[in-house]
Symmetry: C2
Subunit: 410 residues, 2 copies
């Protein structure tokens, strides 16, 4: 069972929008046991969309289109599907009723272009869009399934989960693919590979290992293909146990765990609280922590002391420290971490100070120099890093390293 | 002149990695006047990569591959290119020297798999990778150009900018594409379309208008195609002037401006300072502001009062307010904003309090209820929103709305 995705929109080609839909759909197809064979992005151009539909239908059984369903002129997917299937648009009364109701609820006038949202090719089954006005569409032609979804991510997701998934399960007897991913940080890709090369060399042919590096982290994904679900899971588990023996200290979580979620769970389990005192990370650590639902249980708050005045006024960093050691120093992050620990009466505190760049570097402290402190009631640990010369990456890696230091302390 | 991108990696298909490279490459090709015709993502599979290379070379003149150049076993791009071009790998001495130097500098042992990084197909010109060990590769075969780049974004970008761009400029006489994008927020796509429908109907055929909606914002992109650069720019500018007349109040910036950058520039121009007091946004507004280089000139800091205790202790929110109005109330954000304004001695302050969810909603204040206050020395303005039931979107939209309220005040 092979699937393909065709994403439609000039904005994808000129790079004004990053395609997050494809990754999401790929994940969900995989969890259903459908493997995504290929994906294509093409422009808002009828001939090109038709060519992509032709090519994809020669390779795959399920073709999922996203984009081009909006109310405006550049949205041509529905008309192009009519051409492809040699049919025409008709008004779907249920969709019309739904669109009318949405506009009434929002107390907004209904425009002509909004009415067109209720028109669909005559040969499709419409898929209800709880989150918007553009319906999804499902076509079955010569044993091939074509599914057209809106490009707006949350509308696409709702339709995929509530309408597409049940229909796919009903239509196909699906094979089984089992993925398990170990998430590591604080070690590079080739060093990981060296440490687990014996495990890798012994992998059977139906189990694949992939290294997925990102800023400051590498994910190791094992994928097993077959029909016997239980056997596959057992095999992968045995391999993962060996991985934990060899590189356990670097593994912070599995699958889609984020480091902030892992740290949050540890804090919850131990019934402990956390606060941050951030300078160079400018609130990003607090944001990472509070992205997790339920974080209000353990996260108390933060003082972001971007200006040195605030470091002194709110976090008791001494004049001496700023004059003799500077704001980017071990002394400074130590003082910041213990100050926030006491002020917010928490069990653990993170403090960061560094030079994110592009300006502010010196010979002694080049751009990318960062100090991190983690404080508990019993100890303060500190560490110095050089995060390189990219502002965005420095903020991201500092956040990751700080959370990993806290994880190890917990 | 048509280009295509082929991104290689199972991780893209199973959705474990979001492809940001393609968008970046698309943008840069466009600014060179090369239009990206199509892009394809395929797996770590030799036959499939070969098929994609064949198909792309039938459609386009420049084929850019990313991914599969790492040191580990799942990286097969170089071997596949050897098959495609019917050649074999040879060691590039310059690359070998570079890789050896990197490992010596980092004081890390050089592994066998790292040595393989210096091997490239015999028929390529290597492209220097200042940021890593995997070189890029440039092939010219029968008037087609094939370019292979690493998948790690910052390595790909360095090679593209420093090596690929000059070679493309040297090789081709490039046509001209001019894009100008107006960034709007606080208005929906169909309402924008209604307001500018006369302008849209009068567009000449060589100028296209696209609506690019995202959470809380819609970008309007005008693209003009032709050979006379000056004329195209003039034509687009005349249209943009009309847009400003019709929808100017919703336009916060152009092209790649972010709202936090626009607000930052306004603060810098007026020599004013800013602080935030955040509850439901948990530091995200501070992070958005401090993502901008040079933000330390105007951003002083923040107090993130996730716990109500901190709202009282640090931001003078009264017991009365919390008991009678609750933390998610106009009274509360008013007190938070004026407290941080005075405590941090700044000219402007943003305060947020809301229910990001998924828990914590009530009938009276459902999940998504958010209050925002913007304070200056002269006034405090407040606004209530319902941001819907998605935590991530609520945080993002609240941040956007707060920055837009501040922009309008400035």
């Amino acid at each position: 069972m092979k699937a393909e995705i065709i994403t439609i929109g000039d904005e994808l080609l000129i790079g004004q929008v990053i395609d997050t839909n494809s990754a999401w759909i790929g994940q969900h197809l995989n969890s259903l046991g459908i493997s995504l064979y290929q994906r294509t992005a093409c422009g808002d151009n009828k001939e090109q969309i038709l060519a992509c539909l032709n090519d994809a239908s020669l390779r795959s059984d399920i073709i999922i289109l996203t984009g081009g369903l909006g109310p405006t002129k550049d949205d041509i997917t529905k008309k192009t599907l009519c051409d492809y299937f040699n049919t025409s648009l008709v008004t779907d009364e249920k969709v019309l009723e739904w669109v009318t109701r949405i506009f009434r609820q929002r107390k907004m006038p209904m425009l002509d272009i909004n009415l067109q949202q209720a028109q669909v090719p005559s040969n499709c089954k419409t898929l209800w869009n709880r989150s918007g006005t553009a319906p999804g569409m499902w076509f079955e032609i010569n044993d091939k399934i074509f599914i057209s979804l809106p490009g707006v991510p949350f509308e696409m997701k709702v339709i995929f989960e509530e309408e597409v998934t049940p229909l796919l399960k009903q239509k196909f007897e699906l094979p089984f693919i089992y993925h398990r991913t170990l998430q590591t940080c604080s070690i590079g890709e080739s060093f990981l590979a060296e440490k687990i090369k014996d495990i890798e060399n012994e992998l059977p042919s139906h189990i694949k290992l992939a290294y997925l590096p990102s800023v400051g982290a590498v994910r190791l994904r094992l994928s097993a293909y077959g029909n016997n679900e239980e056997n596959l899971i057992n095999e992968v588990n045995v391999i993962c146990n060996k991985m934990y023996e060899h590189i356990g200290e670097y593994i912070f979580g599995e699958n889609n765990d984020s480091l902030s979620e892992v740290v949050g769970n540890l804090l919850k389990q131990k019934n402990k609280t956390l606060a941050t005192a951030e300078s160079c990370t400018g609130g990003f650590i607090a944001h990472q922590i509070t992205s997790i639902p339920g974080s209000s249980k353990y996260f108390i708050g933060s003082i972001i002391s971007y200006d040195n005045k605030i470091k002194q006024q709110e976090l008791n960093v001494t004049n001496d420290t700023l004059l003799n050691n500077g704001a980017v120093s071990e002394e400074c992050v130590k003082q910041m971490s213990t100050a926030i620990l006491n002020k917010f009466s928490v069990d653990y505190a993170i403090a960061t100070s560094g030079i994110a760049g592009p300006d502010g570097g010196t010979d002694e402290k080049p751009v990318g120099t960062v100090w991190i402190a983690i404080a508990s009631k019993h100890e303060v640990i500190t560490k110095k890093f050089n995060m390189g010369d990219n502002r965005e990456r420095t903020i991201l890696r500092t956040s990751l390293m700080a959370l990993d230091m806290l994880r190890k302390m917990l």
